[in-house]
């Protein structure tokens, strides 16, 4: 077997040291009737054969990264600098565990500390944790935290309907046993601030709004934040990190919690995971923050070093009193994001964000000019916009696929009244030629 080192001689000598006659004898505690079942699985392959088989399976996919793609909706096809992958492949990072032994984990710990600092800077917040599983679970953990900040006395969570539908679904999964009411997104499917604010009351633990929202629109969340805080509720903003290369961050607008999906920061699409849920908050709330936190300290010689801190909040010590059951963060993905943010840096991320913005606006202008198409311009947008099509989005996408283009996200999947609407995302990797080809292909369906 590829990864098992023992020779027959090793096994015999080891059994003798243990004092049993055979390997089978080690399993006598296992009920005999169920011991050593016949498994209906294939025989093992050599690495060469396994690689070939997996390559054949991979070839049955048509990956977005290999085609002109305009699909976003929470996962984006951005350029990933080569250095990102080379760093995260280093065995010292990749094959290490959670840094419980700080003396031999300073690499992971310092990298997380830097990640926390970069996320705080990007979001305009004071503190970020070491990450959650993805953007959706970060939002669910924000609900947990808001429930804890309001001491369990408030039972209502108000979510904007313009938050990613799957994030809202995950919040409902998480809260199904908690006795909370999740509302705000049940009637009306637009980002109507007035009706959202009207639902905030003195039973509201948290209000969440998206900026940019699921439709790519960028409307300042300051009004919702202020309304939430006036009512004594926690104000949470779901954001998109590449857009923050250009946009004023939610922290500058007073948000209590800022969460989002960090996939755009150097992490491959990988059919939905592993991704990176970032989570930032105010210092005053840090003791209610779920998940890992790294802090700076000194060692016994007075030299600087880093440790996991506030661990007593966590499940392994607090057990049933922990804010969350979360054990891990997305360590390697947080490292990828740190490398990405470092190598892009102050100027590069701004440039990426501007490229996304300009190219998306170019695409929107062209598509808006086609007969039978109209772009939703009710609010400014970043790199994604909703288009009303002359035919159902699924049909249009089939046509685009025939032209070798991956089209946008079919909004009728989540918003039934948005039939014939598609969400089109444009990033820095889309060339003008690709956009022109998209427009040309769309013009064929408009006829």
């Amino acid at each position: 077997m590829s990864y098992l080192p023992h020779t027959k001689g090793d096994i015999a000598a080891m059994l003798e040291t243990i004092g049993v006659g055979s390997v089978e004898n080690l399993f006598e505690d296992v009920p005999e009737t169920h011991r050593f079942p016949d498994l209906d699985l294939p025989a093992g392959l050599s690495q060469m054969e396994a690689a070939r088989m997996m390559e054949r399976i991979a070839d049955r996919n048509a990956p977005a990264s290999k085609m002109p793609t305009f699909l976003g909706a929470g996962a984006y096809n951005h350029f990933v600098p080569a250095v990102v992958n080379h760093v995260i492949l280093r065995g010292e990072f990749m094959s290490s565990y959670t840094p419980y032994q700080p003396e031999v984990s300073q690499g992971t710990l310092q990298a997380i500390y830097e990640y926390q600092s970069m996320i705080a800077a990007l979001t305009g917040m004071e503190v970020a944790n070491a990450s959650h599983y993805d953007g959706a679970t970060s939002l669910a953990e924000a609900v947990n935290m808001a429930e804890s900040i309001t001491r369990g006395r408030r039972k209502k969570i108000v979510l904007s309907p313009a938050i990613h539908p799957q994030y809202r679904a995950v919040v409902r999964t998480y809260t199904q046993g908690m006795g909370l009411t999740v509302t705000g997104d049940e009637t009306g499917h637009t980002d109507d601030r007035a009706s959202l604010i009207a639902q905030i009351d003195d039973d509201t633990a948290m209000v969440a709004v998206a900026y940019p929202n699921f439709f790519g629109q960028i409307e300042s969340p300051a009004d919702v934040i202020a309304a939430a805080q006036r009512a004594g509720a926690v104000a949470c903003v779901v954001t998109e990190p590449v857009s923050l290369g250009l946009l004023k961050p939610p922290g500058w607008m007073g948000a209590d919690i800022v969460v989002g999906e960090g996939q755009g920061l150097g992490i491959s699409l990988s059919y939905g995971g592993p991704y990176l849920g970032f989570f930032a908050t105010r210092e005053k709330h840090v003791r209610k923050l779920a998940g890992r936190l790294v802090g700076e300290t000194v060692d016994v010689n007075g030299d600087p070093g880093y440790v996991l801190t506030l661990a007593t909040r966590e499940q392994h010590i607090r057990r049933e009193k922990a804010t969350s059951n979360i054990c891990t963060n997305q360590g390697l993905m947080a490292l990828a994001a740190s490398v990405y943010l470092s190598v892009m840096g102050k100027h590069g991320l701004r440039r990426v964000a501007e490229l996304c913005y300009h190219k998306a606006h170019y695409a929107a202008d062209q598509i808006d000019g086609l007969a039978g198409f109209s772009v939703d311009r009710s609010q400014p947008f970043f790199n994604e916009f909703a288009v009303t099509l002359p035919r159902p989005a699924a049909e249009v996408n089939t046509h685009l696929a025939d032209r070798g283009i991956i089209g946008g996200y079919d909004l009728s999947q989540d918003y039934p009244e948005r039939e014939n609407q598609m969400l089109i995302a444009v990033t820095e990797v889309n060339t003008r030629q690709e956009i022109d080809d998209l427009v040309s292909a769309l013009s064929e369906v408009s006829a």
């Binding site: 098992l4 977005a64 010292e92 300073q106 600092s117 970069m118 006795g179 979360i326 102050k346």
Partner: protein, 496 residues
Amino acid sequence: MTEPLIYELGSPGRRGIAMPDPDVPLADLPADLVRDDLDLPQVSELDVVRHYTHLSHLNFGIDNNFYPLGSCTMKYNPKLNEDIARLPGFAGLHPAQPAAMTQGALEVVHTVQEWLAELAGFEAVSLQPAAGAQGEFAGILMIRKYHHDRGDTKRTKVLIPDSAHGTNPATVVMAGLDVVELPSDERGNVDLDALREACDDTVAGLMITNPNTLGLFEEHIVEVVELIHGCGGLVYGDGANFNALLGIVRPGDLGFDVMHYNLHKTFSTPHGGGGPGAGAVGVSERLVPYLPGPMAAIVDEDDDGRPIYGLHTPEKTIGRMKAFQGNFGMHVRALAYMLVYGREGLRQVSEMAVLNANYLMARLRDTYHVAFDRICMHEFVIEGKVEGSDVRALDISKRLIDFGFHPPTNYFPLIVHEALMIEPTETESRETLDAFADVMIQIAHEAVEQPELLHNAPHTAPVARLDEVRAARNLMLCCRPIPAPEVYVQPQASAT
């Protein structure tokens, strides 16, 4: 040996990566929403490479040396899996692409679902959960919903042995249920009398780790399952220790109703310094309708009789655990791993993991007190104490670092005083195990002859013991100044 922060490197105006100029006309930026400052590093690509290379040198992974961290299954993470997960056909696939473009990915997910179900004797498996704790949460939510759907709302209690990992009780509370702790008996099993006492019609279920966190197979597992089923509860298996059971016994055959799998333990996907994990969840027939979705399913077949795959969400699902389809990159790695081992090989994985643990325990038995001295499974717990010395488990752990080994798990499970939990895994050779055992024995001598060597350890690590009290009292969680007041827009003041 310290490395400056990335923010301390570089120079204002320095750039790492050049991006092209726009090839489209420029649009007007939304002036009132554009930020005037972005506080990120200003470094070259080489600055970045050297910085992270230096940081990696301050770190310890399985690739460095033996990592016997109990309950974490730090086995070798095959390089092949990394290459395969990076094939553009997998890594470049967008999660919202239509099924016609993702047949290969759906085949991977479906195959992993089927094989995991077969390995553990379950009816179906969902790969939605992003980590073990999420798989566990999904499992308890399913148990809750199963009872609720039958109108059986008085079942609010979940029984948990005192040896359990802290996630178990934390999960139960997140699901809105109540924890009842069960004691262990003198052989490290669940105390059957206490269990019998606790079983009534308010029990939603039992969470059990088998082998348990002492590395012991529950000797009364059949009775335990019967008792819980007898009072109408369901049995949740914490699959953290599934590395001991591949081809040995199937939890589903023992009557377990639900179990999560840690792909990052048993199926070799890398731990990555604390994630990403992947926590598939498997269930018996009665819980299939409640599984989290979407899952991969065969929806049709083509003209050649080959399956056509699609996404499917079970009818009474507890919902989705995360956005999109689970940690797909980890599913690819797990499949590559299972393909290489196959039916016979996977059984050998568990056999060799258990052989290695028992061998190491046999080598250490005369020097350290083994907490529950019987044949163990894939790990065992010793007491980190030495006769005639005041050293503690933590001192022994830190001294191991000087010899180039990662310490075992300290102070867990809680029911063993000064616990050191050792899990060698199957990928370690006899020479490595012997080298570790020799060092452990040497440390026991040092503990008596030169205890200060242990108290002050480690001596060779990049930093000495760190002041955790200072870290927690004077929180420094971010190296950047907080936003200056002039850019911080105060929300409109309330009407006070």
